[in-house]
Amino acid sequence: MSETLEIIESEFAQASIETFQMVLISMVAAAIAGTLIGLILHLTSNPLFFKNKIVNGIAGTIVNIIRSMPFIILIIVLIPFTRIIVGTSIGAVAASVSLSIASIAFFARLVEGAFSEVDKGVIEAAVATGASTSLIIRKVLFVEATPALIRALTVTFVSIIGYSAMAGAVGGGGIGNLAIMYGYNRYQTGVLLFTVIVLIIIVQLGQWIGDKIALAFTRK
C-alpha cells in the first residue's frame, strides 16, 4: 500500500502533465486541421457548393488510410515524419505528432458528418438570397452544425485519452503509460486501479462538459 502511494506521489504529477500536453496538442490540431479537412470533404460532396469528385476522393482516401491503421502501427509508420517535425521520435511532444494526425483524421470524418446533417433546405434558402459561399459557411453551416461539432469534439477527446495510453510505446509517458509500466508490468494493482479511476473521472467530466455546451447551443 505504501509502495503504491510512493509511486503515485513520485510519478503521477509528471504523467498528468504529459497526458495534458498530448491531449492539448492533438485537440488543437484536430479542431483546426480536422475542421478544415471535414469542411473540404463536405463542400466537395455537396452540389450546392463545389461538388468535386476528384478532390473529395483524394481527401477521403487519405483520411481513410490514416483511420484504417491501428494507432500503435501509425506511431511506428510516422517515426521518420515525427523526426523531421520535432527533431526526435521520443517523448510526449513526439507522441503528439502521430496522436494529432490520428485525431485530425478521426475528427475530420465527424465534422463532415456534422455538416451533412445540416438541413439542405436551410442552405438552399441561403443560396437563394444571393449570399456568397463564405457567408453561408460562416452564418449557416457552422451555426447549424455547432451542437454536432461540439459533440464530435467530445468524442474525439475521449478517443485521444484512449490513444494517449499507447504513447508509452515511444516514451510518450502519460497516465495510461503509468498504468502499463507499474500496474501491469510490475504488478502494482493499486497503481493500476488508481489510474483507471482517474481516467474514468477525466472521461466522464469531459463528456459531461461537452454535453452541457452542446445543449447550450441547441435551439431546437
Binding site: 436551410v122 434558402a125 443560396v127 437563394a128 438570397t129 449570399a131 452564418k139 449557416v140
Partner: protein, 336 residues
C-alpha cells in the same frame, strides 16, 4: 418581368431519364401574382426553382427583366438572386440564429451597411407584424410566424420578385389565410411580382391574378383566375376547379316525368339577379334547389346551382328559356 423559354429539366433516376419539366415557355408580368397549380409530381416546384436557378434547366433560357440569367457566372448570378426573394414550404430558417439574425442574413448577403442593419431588420419585422420576436429562436415560433420571418428575410433587399414554393402547404387554415393576406398586402404596397406554387385551390382562388395548370411537366393552361374557375378548358384544370366548387347531384336522386334537372352557372353581375324567383313567379312551375354554392373570386361572384323544375311541359319549356337567357351557363342534367 420573368420569361421562361423552352425549359426542360431532366433528372437521371436509376439510369433512366425523367423529364420533370417539359418544354415550358411562360411570361409572368411585372407586379402580378402568378400561380402555378397541379397535382404533386407535376413539376411545379422544379419549375419555380428554375426561375432563380436553384435548379439549372437541361435546356432553355430564363430572362429576368429582359436579362438572360442562364449564362451568367457565379458572381453575376448572386447579384440577380439579390433581386429575387424566395420562401419555402418548410420555412428553412437558420435554427441556431435568432429571428433578427435570420432576417439580417439577406442584408449581409447584400453587403448592407453594418450600422444600418438593426434598423432595417426592425422595419422588416414590423412589415410582417412580428417586431416583438426579434430575439426569439425559430423553434419558439408557430408555423405562420416562421413563414412571416421567412417573408421578411426574402424581402430584405427590396426584391422585384418573390418566389413561393408551397409556402402555405405546411400551415393550418388560419395561418394560411394570414400568410395569403400578408402576401396580398405586400403585393399591393410594393408591386412586387409573386410567383406562387401550390396544390391548394382555395389559396389559388384567394390570391392569384393569373394561374397556370401544370401536369406531368407540361403547362396545360394559362389564364386569368376568374376564367380558370368559370371556364376551365383542359381536363386537369376542370378536375382541380371542380374540387373547389364541389357541387354534385346526389346519387339517390330520381327525376320524375314532370321534372327537369338543371345545373346553372352564374358569373359576374348576373349572380345578383333573382332569376329563380322570377321564373317561379312568372311561370306555373315550382323550383327545388338540390345543391349549390356561390363563391367570390377577386370579389366577383361565381355560383353553381343544381335545380329541379317541376310543372307542365309547356310552362317548364318557357321557364327554361327564360332562365337560359339570364344566366351564364345552363346544362340539362336529366328529365325532359
Amino acid at each position: 418581368m420573368i420569361e421562361l423559354k423552352n425549359i426542360d429539366v431532366i433528372f437521371q433516376q436509376n439510369k433512366h431519364d425523367f423529364k420533370a419539366v417539359n418544354n415550358v415557355s411562360l411570361k409572368i408580368k411585372k407586379g402580378e401574382i402568378f400561380g402555378i397549380v397541379g397535382p404533386s409530381g407535376a413539376g411545379k416546384s422544379t419549375l419555380v426553382r428554375v426561375i432563380n436557378l436553384l435548379q439549372r434547366p437541361s435546356r432553355g433560357q430564363v430572362f429576368i427583366e429582359g436579362q438572360e440569367i442562364t449564362n451568367l457566372n457565379r458572381k453575376e448570378l448572386r447579384k440577380v438572386r439579390l433581386n429575387i426573394g424566395m420562401i419555402f414550404q418548410h420555412f428553412n430558417l437558420i435554427s441556431g440564429s435568432t429571428i433578427a439574425e435570420n432576417v439580417a442574413f439577406s442584408l449581409y448577403a447584400n453587403n448592407y451597411p453594418k450600422d444600418k442593419i438593426p434598423g432595417r431588420v426592425k422595419e422588416l419585422l414590423e412589415l410582417v407584424h412580428l417586431p416583438e420576436k426579434a430575439d426569439a429562436y425559430p423553434a419558439n415560433l408557430s408555423g405562420g410566424q416562421k413563414q412571416r420571418v421567412a417573408i421578411a428575410r426574402a424581402l430584405a433587399n427590396n426584391p422585384e420578385i418573390l418566389l413561393c414554393d408551397e409556402a402555405t402547404s405546411a400551415l393550418d387554415l388560419e395561418n394560411t389565410e394570414e400568410i395569403v393576406a400578408l402576401l396580398k398586402e405586400i403585393n399591393e404596397k410594393t408591386k412586387i411580382t409573386i410567383v406562387f406554387i401550390t396544390h391548394e385551390m382555395e389559396v389559388a382562388k384567394k390570391l392569384f391574378d393569373r394561374i397556370a395548370f401544370m401536369e406531368q411537366g407540361e403547362l396545360k393552361e394559362v389564364t386569368d383566375i376568374y376564367t380558370a374557375f368559370t371556364e376551365p378548358k383542359e381536363a386537369i384544370s376542370k378536375s382541380l376547379v371542380e374540387r373547389v366548387l364541389n357541387v354534385n347531384v346526389p346519387e339517390a336522386l330520381v327525376v320524375k316525368e314532370d321534372e327537369t334537372l338543371l345545373r346553372l352557372s352564374y358569373t359576374g353581375d348576373d349572380s345578383y339577379d333573382p332569376v329563380i324567383s322570377m321564373a317561379s313567379k312568372n311561370y306555373d312551375i315550382t323550383v327545388d334547389i338540390i345543391n349549390g354554392k356561390i363563391d367570390y373570386i377577386h370579389n366577383k361572384p361565381f355560383g353553381v346551382l343544381i335545380l329541379i323544375l317541376r310543372g307542365e311541359d309547356e310552362e317548364r319549356a318557357k321557364a327554361l328559356e327564360y332562365i337560359q337567357k339570364n344566366v351564364y351557363k345552363l346544362e340539362r342534367l336529366g328529365g325532359k
